[in-house]
């Protein structure tokens, strides 16, 4: 099958084009590093199928970043049949820099001028024919976003792939053209492929080329001794870059004619927005406010706190239980529901009140054994329903975060936070994978490949799980919702928002700690192109949400339901395999396992201080290691038995995740302090097995055990401190003193006042 590679600058639209060609749902982010490895698909509209490879975005073919190495190695070693160089037509000069390097490789090349819709909209004119004549390679105008020009591009790429192409350089008229020619001839004599490309790279002093061709590098060295340049001296890399840009400006830039409407130096709409959104003082408060707004619309119960202000909420009672429950989805005692609350209530109504009720009634009508009814209602359906109820809320959160990401705002946040992060030992570049952790830790950890500094990468992979992922969101939603239900004056969305913020703060604190201890070093520079703001593509958003929904449903119908069945079984059978009724659950295998580990959790507030069902929290934390959604499904499965087994029933029999936590609060005596500590423990501890496996794969050999220890210690110590400080406020003073002592120690050590003497190894006595 013929192969085409898509190469171009970050944010030029490669992945958008890739999706349009292959029908893929590859995610299109708005910052560098979203594509961290090549992505492959098939285009089927030519006379033969063509494999399409989407390479990471690069500015040049110099090996300074992992993306550049991936792209360069692919083009040189895998030898695609044609390279399609996507060029952002609104940023011609900068994009053509890479084009001049690709031209030097002996590979068929086609230039795709993307974002032509934006060029036409701005009134500018681009003469593609003139550019094609100047470059000497086919040039096609396209708009990947609007699906225009794609077929013509592919047909021209297909035609180009049938004709071999020899590399050409724009440096023929430069002062180093002579040495490039000589080196090229020498390399050709040794039958080295792509001799022109390697010759130019040798002239630049490319470290990979210097190592691979030492003899030819001597030729360059000798030339350098005779060559003199008033501006660049012996820096041939800068000289080559300057020569390229001069050639681009003189020969290619004339193809773009700017509209006369534009004033010189006039600010674009993006620039005007950035004046506010990246303002030195307002940027962080604006970011926090936007995040809070997102969390309020997702987890809040009282839209814009209207009921808290005007007090108009009430529970509708028509006499028809189903109608009352349906109306309560949109309006109830808490006021008008937020979009997230509406979806949660609606899903809960469908899953539990309707489907759950019908299944329970159906099983009872068949006369099946009591244990079989419990297995189906609580074990099978209970586990699934408990998690699925939260899916819409999590999707709403993903939708808002995706809008922020696709609009270009999150790229600005990385830039803003760089100023703060730098003080704590990491660059703003590390923020990009961290914010991806709000969705899922797995792609976030993979994205750390874009961090060139090893120490920064290890630190970032360790703190990514502190950014509460979509799987942990139901834990926070359920527990915060329960606390809000049981305590007046508490707002669930504020609590959830505070916990999310706490996770971010913990990440910064631990980054600082690691920079002072095991990961000391310089902070790498952070340079990033800020893409223009634009409205997110509706189709892209919906595809992204659909992917997430499919993933959740698949996970709920596989690992979650299997875990729920196992949990139900272990909680309803004793060690001698005898079946236990709900009220005897405390004699079950699961209860024994939970009680065995209960003492460990005592300092965190969910251990021995709880009553007979306290082991449920321990078991939930353990099952959360398989998948974090299991925490809520565990509550759901076990609370059904607790509710049934307690004489006189309980206030809420756990009809949903929030109700399950309320029941646990009433039956175990766990305080809100213990619940918050439980939340914090699950937020900071070892992530799910999948995420842990990815971290292990991305961590250098031998370091993963330290990462595991890091997670366990951080979560245990932090949640213990949280429980102690909230339960006994005077302990705040002790914690503050301890933290101050640690900070003082690091400051004194950094100033050299405190030093550690290394034990000298004694040399063996000299033999006479």
């Amino acid at each position: 099958m013929i192969r085409f590679a898509l190469a171009g600058n970050p944010n030029c639209g490669k992945t958008t084009l890739f999706n349009a060609l292959t029908g893929s749902t590859a995610h299109v982010g708005n910052w560098p590093g979203v594509t961290v490895d090549k992505r492959e698909g098939v285009y089927k509209k030519l006379s033969e199928p063509a494999e399409i490879v989407d390479l990471p975005g690069i500015y040049s073919l110099s090996p300074y970043t992992p993306e550049e190495v991936i792209s360069r190695n692919y083009i040189l070693d895998e030898k695609p049949d044609c390279v399609i160089n996507i060029v952002d037509a609104t940023n011609l000069e900068r994009n053509l820099y890479l084009t001049t390097q690709l031209m030097e490789i002996d590979v068929p090349l086609v230039v795709a001028l993307n974002m032509m819709d934006a060029v036409k909209k701005s009134g500018d004119r681009l003469d593609a024919a003139k550019l094609e004549k100047a470059l000497g390679v086919p040039v096609v105008e396209i708009s990947a976003l609007k699906n225009e020009g794609i077929q013509e591009l592919m047909e021209r790429a297909y035609a180009a792939s049938k004709t071999p192409r020899a590399g050409s350089t724009v440096l023929a008229g430069s002062s180093i053209a002579h040495v490039i020619d000589d080196v090229k001839i020498a390399l050709r004599g040794k039958e080295v492929e792509n001799p022109l490309f390697h010759a130019v790279k040798l002239a630049e002093g490319d470290e990979l080329e210097v190592a691979a061709h030492p003899d030819e590098m001597k030729m360059v060295g000798e030339f350098k001794t005779q060559h003199s340049d008033d501006i660049f001296g012996g820096d041939f890399e800068a000289l080559v870059a300057d020569a390229r840009y001069k050639y681009i400006s003189a020969n290619f830039s004339g193809a773009l004619v700017h509209s006369q409407k534009k004033e010189r130096g006039a600010l674009s709409k993006s620039d005007k927005a950035d004046r506010v959104l990246t303002n030195r003082w307002a940027a962080i408060p604006i970011f926090v406010a936007i995040l809070f707004f997102v969390f309020h619309l997702t987890f809040g119960e009282d839209l814009f706190y209207l009921n808290a202000i005007f007090g108009f909420g009430f529970d509708v009672e028509t006499g028809n239980a189903y109608l009352d429950a349906f109306v309560a989805v949109f309006f109830n005692g808490a006021g008008i529901s937020t979009p997230g609350a509406i979806l949660f209530n609606l899903t809960d109504f469908i899953m539990n009140t309707c489907l759950g009720g019908w299944i329970a009634d159906g099983m009872a009508a068949t006369g099946a054994a009591a244990w079989a009814q419990g297995l189906v209602n609580d074990g099978i359906w209970g586990g699934v329903a408990g998690v699925m109820s939260f899916v819409p809320q999590v999707l709403v959160l993903f939708l808002f975060l995706s809008i922020l990401e696709d609009s270009g705002y999150m790229a600005r946040v990385a830039f803003i936070l760089d100023r703060i992060f730098r003080r704590f030992g990491v660059s703003g570049r590390a923020f990009i994978p961290m914010i991806m952790g709000f969705g899922c830790s797995v792609p976030a950890v993979v994205n750390t490949r874009t961090l060139a500094d090893d120490k920064e990468r290890i630190m970032t992979t360790r703190v990514i799980p502190f950014f509460t992922c979509g799987a942990k969101a139901p834990i926070l939603a359920a527990i915060c919702g329960a606390i809000a239900a049981e305590y007046t004056g508490v707002s669930a969305d504020l609590l959830v928002f505070a916990l999310y913020l706490f996770g971010m703060i913990m990440a910064i604190v631990m980054l600082l700690f690691m920079r002072q201890t095991s990961m000391r070093g310089e902070v790498p520079p952070f340079i990033m192109e800020l893409p223009a703001y634009h409205a997110p593509q509706f189709r892209s958003l919906m595809i992204h949400l659909w992917d997430k929904l499919k993933h959740y449903v698949k996970k709920a119908c596989t690992i979650i339901v299997a875990s729920s069945i196992v949990i139900w079984f272990l909680s309803h059978f004793a060690w001698d395999w005898s079946y236990l009724e709900d009220e005897l659950m405390n004699r079950s295998i699961l209860a024994d396992i939970g009680n065995f580990l209960l003492w460990i959790c005592t300092p965190m507030g969910f251990g021995l201080q709880l009553s007979e069902f306290g082991w449920v929290f321990v078991v939930a934390a353990v099952t959360g290691l398989i998948a974090k959604e299991n925490v809520i499904s565990t509550f759901y499965v076990l609370v059904a038995a607790i509710g049934a087994g307690v004489a006189g029933g309980v206030g809420d029999d756990g009809e949903n995740g929030i109700g399950a936590v309320v029941t646990l609060m009433q039956q175990t005596g766990i305080t809100w302090q213990g619940l918050i500590a439980f939340c914090v423990f699950n937020m900071l501890t070892v992530p799910c097995f999948a995420a842990a496996a990815v971290v292990k794969g991305e961590t250098p050999k031998g370091k993963f055990k330290f990462t595991l220890a890091f997670w366990m210690l951080t979560s245990y110590v932090t949640s213990t401190c949280i429980y102690l400080m909230f339960s006994w406020p005077w302990t705040v003073a002790i914690v503050v003193v301890l933290i101050a002592a640690v900070i003082a120690f690091f400051i004194l050590r950094n100033k050299g006042i405190i030093r550690f003497r290394r034990k000298r190894k004694e040399l063996p006595a000299a033999k006479e």
């Binding site: 492959e40 090996p63 068949t366 006369g367 797995v442």
Partner: protein, 62 residues
């Protein structure tokens, strides 16, 4: 117990065992196919994720 009750009781047990065994078998098959760790549905599962395919040395120059 009524015959219908016995049938549904047995079905419930078979369903539960089937789900657990099926999920375990599915995970084993996925792992053998090199997609053993994740199924997170993220885009990296298209090939760029260590949890979803065996790590390939040299792809990223490391």
């Amino acid at each position: 117990m009524e015959p219908l009750g016995i049938v549904f009781t047995v079905l419930a047990a078979v369903l539960a065992v089937g789900i657990v065994v099926g999920v375990i078998a599915y995970r084993i098959v996925q792992k053998k196919r090199g997609r053993g760790g994740c199924d997170c549905g993220c885009d990296c599962c298209s090939g760029g994720c260590h949890a979803c395919r065996a790590a390939r040395k040299g792809d990223d120059g490391r």
